[in-house]
Symmetry: C2
Subunit: 343 residues, 2 copies
């Protein structure tokens, strides 16, 4: 009589396969596959015993095998053209990811983030083209960078933000910047302001352009002058500088629309440093409704930027594209005015 001594390898026993489930349930592998994938055409009683076997064996489909057989990966990549550290430092990305994850959780897709700038760019490229991914979400903050557009005929892609050029070629979702800026100006006008300035964003970024346009159209509709424009680059420091220039002009000024909250925060400081009151002397409205809006005093009246919704919608569009359903090429998300104390 022989004795076999089990060797403890530290490795767990191999994962159960479709075939094992089939054996235990007394059906064919095809039937198990159908049950697992929720096919309608399977007899209830068979389905029962299959499900039972699945639970008994704690079966979970092998992703690689499934991918190989079905030519679908059920994976989508969030591509961020920034360094890892920057991505995490920026609350904007955080919120986009949150929205994307929220939508994806209702689907079978997995999310998979890759920051492109680090390492060799070719690695990212090869990964995306290597059939490891069903679709790509590209998020670059304000810039509307569509430099990955060439991937478009290899993979469905949805961008965050309208591209600066070639808007007709790609799918994207953006917030309605112009409408938001318009609402901001209207708030200023409604509260009795007549001399309304703006600190605009860079004019090589779509949000910069659109928010300025919204400000202009609001003024035009009310027959007001649109001479009071200064430009910043969306940073606090640039907001301060722009506000100084505005004040230095010596013109009447009782209202300000800043193209984002950071620049509004910069303006806040300068206004108060000049001994002027907010909102009594100068009312100010920002854009984005981010951390800066509430960390400043008085709290900023601002245009809410639905960032999480943006992520959600991007994911939604991409999944539609992947599954071959028709999708609108562009989705423009509505904004809403958040009234606080500064206007």
């Amino acid at each position: 009589m022989e004795t076999t001594v089990g060797i403890e390898t530290g490795q767990s026993r191999p994962a159960p396969t479709l075939e094992m489930v089939a054996a235990l349930a007394g059906v064919s592998r095809a039937t198990v596959s159908r049950v697992v994938n929720g096919s309608t055409s399977v007899a209830p009683e068979l389905a029962q015993s299959v499900e039972q076997a699945v639970r008994a064996l704690n079966y979970v489909p092998n992703r690689a095998a499934r991918t190989l057989a079905s030519r679908r990966t059920y994976t989508i990549t969030l591509l961020v053209p920034e360094s890892t550290s920057k991505v995490f430092a920026d609350p904007f990305f955080a919120t986009v990811v949150e929205g994307v994850a929220k939508y994806l959780n209702s689907t079978e897709y997995m999310l998979n983030m890759v920051t492109s700038s680090e390492a060799d760019p070719g690695k990212t490229q090869r990964y995306l083209m290597g059939g490891n991914v069903d679709g790509v979400l590209v998020v670059s903050h304000h810039s509307g960078d569509h430099s990955w557009e060439h991937l478009n005929d290899a993979l469905p892609i949805v961008f965050a933000g309208r591209p600066l050029l070639n808007a007709s070629d790609s799918y994207y979702v953006e917030v309605d910047n112009e409408e938001g800026a318009l609402a901001a100006v209207q708030r200023l006008i409604t509260t009795g302001r007549r001399n309304i300035a703006t600190i605009a964003g860079p004019q090589d970024m779509p949000p910069g352009v659109d928010r300025l346009a919204g400000w202009r159209s609001g003024l035009a509709a009310a027959g007001l002058d649109d001479a009071l424009v200064e430009y910043g680059d969306f940073t606090v420091a640039s907001g301060e500088a722009a506000m100084r220039r505005l004040l230095a002009r010596g013109k009447p000024l009782d209202g300000l629309f800043a193209a984002n909250d950071q620049m509004a925060a910069g303006a806040h400081a300068v206004i108060q440093e000049h001994g002027l009151r907010i909102p009594e002397d100068i009312a100010v409205v920002g854009f984005d409704d981010d951390l800066f809006a509430t960390s400043v005093s008085p709290a900023l009246t601002t245009v809410h930027h639905p960032i999480s919704d943006l992520g959600e919608k991007m994911a939604h569009m991409l999944v539609e594209l992947i599954e071959g359903r028709p999708a609108h090429r562009v989705c423009r998300l509505p904004t809403s005015l958040v009234v606080r104390d500064s206007a």
Copy 2:
């Protein structure tokens, strides 16, 4: 004569396969595989023509097929037991990820983050057990939470931080909290302080325990009294409250070690609010060297927590484990004192 009209499907042509490369190079698939995977035993001239074919076709191996055949995924998961939004909001995670990514970029492994709390926890579990991943990195901030330890006999795991219990069972890397706290106290003593208090962290978290122990041993070595202890929970508010209690004792107090920078920041405010000067009246040293250390005035002398290194080391250990090389069960990272203005 018939005419076939090409239908534009919008789909790109199928990716080149190993077989196509083999055909073009005039060798067998096995040889191509060997070249692609850097096998030594292949004739230089054949290798040449294979590489040429690879470039010509822009061949990139199919990950799913490779995984299926080799039973290796070359993917590791960073598991974060927090909500997505929390993860991104916390600079600690950001920096860990940075370190992990840095190391992994020198390898063939891909990183793949999953935040566990959202959605159903079972989904995460099934994903990890489903053979989609070669190993797992678990990061939970201060807590030393090892609740995923049961995965250990299914998958290699490396934790961030020592577990509260069962330290002998799992692989982890931690910063040397005790040594760091000791250095902080020594700094205080070196600059002439004799009545040194501490605001300790929660005693159900390893860092809270170890930093308190470090403070105690520093005091003991110098024959100083260790009665001045108050506890906080690593938040700014708790630091303020603890400082108030310390001051309310009415005992002499000319030095303070706070178990993290946030609590130190809280203490800062309270000390100054009492009309006391830093460091003249009370010198303070923090721990972590994070944003709070420099956002406070005077800037905080503090113990540098090498978070990026932690991520790097974790990834390194995990890869060693995965590849079957021996690895030390625990890695303790050294700290360093960053001298600024508060002590």
